[in-house]
């Protein structure tokens, strides 16, 4: 769910840039370090960014009939961690604005914060917690991806509510109103994306489980156990 160009008034679009910038500066600093130390990760990061972009431009099978796209950042956070995801999300969101006319430039700060920082951090934290509690891998991925999607939309509703507080009840009242109206499309969408990303995991484990082991997403033991259970 992108906030469209021109929708956030001053000072809110500037504020969200200021909130997002420390994360991005930190991300860029770590990217510089990664480029200097482990050059072999550069092409892999590049294909990861392109993957997130292409995934987010595919049309999801839809129930409501509205045009819906996966965010892709939940999957990226599980695979590459939240910090790399925030830089990838920044680049992907600029491309979405310029290639697909989704989102905008003044609202880039707000969109990077909701889709590139808040959602991925939640997805990563949940996935790690689930892994520690040795939850079933697919259930864990489903929960992480769905909640990350939902959280992204809660943050977007919050950003709009702060910019447009209600006359009676202030920010909280308009927050509830935005949440309620976005829920119509976003809740089914988040569940579908969760199911799909859990299935994506199944297919990756079928074909190239070594990638997931290499990225520290799964241990070799878990992969063996899943493959045995399937066989």
């Amino acid at each position: 769910m992108h906030i469209m160009e021109g929708f956030l008034p001053s000072p809110w679009w500037q504020i969200w840039f200021i909130v997002a910038i420390p994360f991005l500066v930190l991300g860029l600093y770590q990217l510089k370090k990664l480029f200097a130390e482990k050059r072999e990760t550069i092409p892999l990061l590049a294909v990861a960014g392109a993957f997130v972009f292409v995934l987010s431009s595919l049309k999801l099978p839809s129930v409501t009939g509205s045009c819906s796209h996966p965010t892709g950042t939940g999957l990226s956070a599980i695979l590459f961690g939240p910090f790399i995801t925030s830089i990838l999300a920044l680049i992907v969101l600029i491309y979405q604005a310029i290639f697909l006319a989704h989102g905008g430039l003044t609202t880039l700060g707000a969109n990077v914060f909701s889709m590139g920082i808040a959602g991925p951090v939640v997805a990563y934290a949940l996935y790690m917690a689930g892994k520690k509690a040795s939850l079933n891998t697919f259930v864990n991925v489903f929960i992480a991806a769905t909640v990350a999607d939902l959280f992204t939309y809660v943050v977007t509703a919050g950003q709009l509510a702060l910019a447009f507080p209600a006359a009676e009840g202030g920010v909280m009242a308009s927050f509830t109103a935005f949440l309620a109206i976005f829920a119509i499309t976003q809740v089914p969408l988040a569940i579908i994306e969760g199911v799909i990303i859990a299935l994506v995991f199944k297919y990756i484990i079928d074909v190239r489980p070594d990638i997931l082991v290499k990225l520290n997403v799964l241990t070799q033991n878990t992969v063996n156990r899943i493959r045995e259970a399937a066989a």
Partner: protein, 262 residues
Amino acid sequence: MIDEHLLDDLALQNGLLEVDARLKLAVGIGAILIGVFSPSPIAPLAIAASMAVLTIGFARIPARIYAALLAIPVSFVFMSIIVILFMTGGGEPLWDIPILGHTFSLTTDSANLAVLLLSRTLGGMCSLFFIALTTPMVDIFSVMNRLRLPDEFIDLSMLIYRNIFVLIGESIAIHNAQVMRNGYSTFRRSIDAFAMLAGMLFVRAWEKGEEMLVAMDARCYDGKFQMIEEERRISATGIATATGYLCACAGLAVIFRSFSLF
């Protein structure tokens, strides 16, 4: 499946391709900023109209595609505007609607805010389309380079840009193969087929990355792509036209600053 046209394809053959990228970016971003700061709907609406004329008339982008692009923000804008209309309040009541014992009232201030936001979004989107449809990404990279953005960021952006087209080709091939095998015939199957597509896309992407690593090493990649820049000067008429246009937009925003519909 990939329902949007990639605007970059259109940008590479638009009528304003030869105009300097810095000039086009300055006009587009300048208009976006004037729109977002304008206190009345007049300036954003004038920006939307003039940008549409520039893009369809001068850059020769087909009007049908332009109209399809304008439909993208509709669902987001529609849902948000409803909330703003009935929640923000202030001013004189225009219309009271009783729903389930509650009275939702539409007031002059909230109606004015909704009109302002609609016009700002329209102006902003038209300015964004102007940039998207007249400036190919390759030109934007060279502007980013001149602006001294971090090399790592530009390099990663360029590599992602290249791989986007590789992966789109892959996903279209997989999707066609799935459609031929009834992959999307029911809702359940389309969920499964979509997930298979995304999973295989990831595996293919990873393999492309590994291949690219070998190729880049073989060519002694040392962490920076060299771009050949030809020193181009922006024509004086170009600068004068762009400045004139932006001043006119800013002038409209100032003159009509206290105008409101209700």
